[in-house]
Symmetry: C2
Subunit: 475 residues, 2 copies
């Protein structure tokens, strides 16, 4: 004690930063640790977590799940009508939406607006008011895309007459689906449902879908992982920046389109549409990520996160070990850059299935590969590198198929381990577009957000209960 | 002195590093400064340099030259036959080559091979032996591309019947030209001249050139600087990596091609050719850089470098202030990665006009934007960033049109100041392809090299002499 007080004090503060502030104000030297108790300080959840950490059942399950994810080979094999690809869509009036399940009356503006648009597109109502009534009265089944191996960006609306990309994992034969990207401006996925929006959807069905289907027949399928890997070396993180990936996709698809025998004016419109939208590849990136993560799903006891998705109100996750169960929490706010004339008060809550990209180790997890994205989502290139590094603390490993040049070609952090998230208090980072909270206005910015902690805590409790119930469990 | 030897010695070594080695072997602590005397230790040249440093005539001239470079707006406006674009090529049997002037008998294998190919392509001889004789006997005028506002990669051969990209600087109306990129493998620019090579050149003349000419008419010209700037944010340095730039170019050009009314099978071949070559944009990057630097040329007293070019034997530079005068030195060796089966003994000396990209602040100068290029040219992403930073020490400023994301969007270092090169002993870095020394084998690797110091020392002497002779010179 004598030496302690006779020498200059160096204080390490752990917990409330206000303690450190006071010491600093008094001239003291303080290192402030941004430490929080695990599991949000919930003792019961913390004990559940403690039982799962280093548990051999979980460790083995995670290894199996992670290996299945790594081994997946998503190939774009076809374009199909949604009702053909997903028989449940042909059986009743059913529309799929992004994120975890949510009832019509709880949905946010853009999702309701997009559902109205889809009802009009399907011809189930003659005008927006009638469509709204139909939905409100339960005349349409509303279900998450994820319940049907689908993903959709933003509102994520898929109705029977739309067309889907079909991505097949060559390793296990399973398929995943995503709708087509409509471009920017007034589009269904941001809740717009005007005649202009419906006309574009009709054109996509009549011209874009058959042309892409024919081109894929010419190509005999397109491997998506090498294309994504290349785009990561070209400044994309393949969630909010898809300029390079779209270019690489076009370079493969256009020669095939020209060989389809379709009329030149048809091809011209298809090429102009795709070449005019730097985000065209986003939906393919999402389907590929869904395919990789579905491969890792349903491994009992695995704490690997296989889904992160937002419905504009709640953020939902699924773990491999807990199968189809959703764990939900209110979505965190988005820190971002807004387009001129808009601000944080105009923003809808975090929305869309596109966080499947982060779940698969790209998007925000691969931001180090995409320094230029900070012009779109905010921050500095150093922040972008920091995000990618930090995600290494909450993941099961690295994906050697996706390397990050600016981290000296380190594999991207992948396979989010819900245990590590809850233990370390580090949240998965997500790059995201920001929708206006009113239907139909569209994108008003982009930014960075995180998955909310409570759904991970909930998931850990459920997984711990599962492990407890296992007969041979020694812990 | 007493304190000096009573305390531990910290030695700073400046000069021969072997002095430091000995001290380190004896257990001493040595900081070794990699210092060299300016101007290679040549006292007379050093004094000439001293007269030029901070000389108001030079400072003002450099400002004018650098501003003209920054203000240039290179636009791809047309495709023309070489003889039409450059009247001198229509007047006699004349072939242009890369680098500074060089006589036939002094040329390296690949350049001789490419000239033989061009003679066969023009029909001036029936076979390779006859073509070789014709060239050796002086039957063809051989001149540098740079003497006619042209640039060409590697051998850089341009003969009257070939077609050229026409790039116009919208700021001053001046034009610059470059030939088309043939792709990889057996190609004229690496000295190959087989029937396969000649057939490709004929096809480029018959189908590629008219299709691109028609597409450019549809487009009404294509601004190259914004496209290059975008590619720098997509992992290209637009010298040895042009994957993104080629993709961006195709995205603009293919819709225009489809609108030309040309037959579909013709368009298919043109699209397949361009989409199959990630380096297709290189020649456009070169023409744009030539255009920007020509704008800065011929400003009396300016020490800004406006040309760096290699003929496979010598490296030549031009300064703005010394106009058409070449300053030459033996090319430095290339540190690089070789394709399997090849090594340094197989390599031709540094070759081609493509160092015009580095002269304009891209290529090696913009390597920070292209971490993935180290897989092609060697080194690490940190080295790539180091090269871009180091070039800031020998340039007149930054080009705000070309920003480097990983350097927090710093403008690329541009406008090489020959004074700074000679004063600081820092050589311009160049990313380069490596040709096999025998004609026709092609590219065998890629790597990093530097411009040789003696040509800068020579240039500084000449500029100092010019400044001395100026009547109003006060120094």
């Amino acid at each position: 004690m004598n030496t302690l007080f006779s020498e200059p004090l160096k204080v390490v503060n752990c917990g409330l930063s206000s303690f450190a502030d006071n010491l600093q104000l008094a001239g003291g030297e303080v290192l402030n640790l941004a430490w929080q108790p695990p599991a949000l300080g919930d003792v019961e959840a913390g004990l559940a977590l403690a039982r799962l950490l280093r548990h051999p059942l979980v460790e083995q399950a995670n290894q199996r799940a992670f290996e299945a994810y790594l081994a997946a080979q998503p190939v774009l094999v076809d374009v199909m009508g949604a009702a053909e690809a997903i028989p449940a869509l042909a059986q009743s009036r059913r529309i799929l939406h992004s994120g975890p399940p949510i009832a019509w009356q709880d949905m946010c503006g853009p999702v309701q607006g997009a559902i109205v648009g889809a009802i009009l597109f399907e011809g189930w109502a003659d005008n927006a008011a009638a469509a709204q009534r139909l939905a409100a009265e339960g005349g349409v089944d509303l279900e998450p895309c994820h319940h049907y191996q689908c993903v959709g960006p933003m509102a994520g609306i898929i109705s029977p007459s739309m067309n889907l990309f079909v991505v097949q994992n060559k390793t296990n034969g399973e398929r995943a689906f995503c709708n087509f990207n409509e471009g920017l401006g007034k589009v269904l996925r941001f809740g717009a449902n005007s005649e202009e929006v419906l006309q574009r959807l009709r054109w996509m069905k009549q011209e874009l879908a058959p042309a892409l289907k024919a081109a894929l027949r010419e190509l005999g399928g397109l491997e998506l992982k090498p294309l994504m890997a290349q785009a990561l070396h070209m400044g994309d993180e393949i969630h909010n920046r898809n300029a390079a990936a779209t270019g690489l996709f076009l370079k493969r698809v256009i020669p095939a389109l020209l060989a389809t025998g379709l009329p030149l004016d048809h091809l011209q419109r298809v090429v102009a549409f795709m070449a005019g939208n730097d985000h065209f590849f986003l939906n393919l990136s999402m389907a590929a990520c869904k395919s990789m993560l579905d491969a890792a799903a349903n491994v009992p006891f695995s704490s690997m996160v296989t889904v992160m998705a937002r419905n504009g109100v709640n953020f939902g996750i699924r773990l491999s070990g807990t199968g189809d169960q959703w764990f939900q929490a209110k979505a965190n706010p988005v820190q971002g850059l807004f387009f001129p004339g808009y601000g944080v008060d105009d923003a809808a809550a975090d929305l869309g299935d596109s966080a499947i990209t982060e779940t698969a180790g790209v998007g925000g997890f691969a931001m180090a590969s995409s320094p230029a994205i900070v012009k779109f989502v905010g921050g500095t290139p150093a922040d972008a590198i920091g995000h990618s590094r930090r995600m290494q603390s909450i993941t099961l490993g690295g994906n050697p198929a996706f390397t990050l040049p600016s981290l000296n070609f380190a594999p991207t952090a992948a396979g989010i381990d819900a245990r590590k998230v809850v233990d370390r208090g580090i949240l998965p980072v997500i790059n995201t577009g920001i929708a206006h909270k009113q239907a139909g206005i569209g994108q008003i910015g982009a930014g960075i957000t995180t998955a909310p902690m409570p759904c991970f805590v909930e998931a850990i409790r459920a997984l711990a209960a599962q492990v407890e119930q296992f007969p041979g469990n020694a812990s």
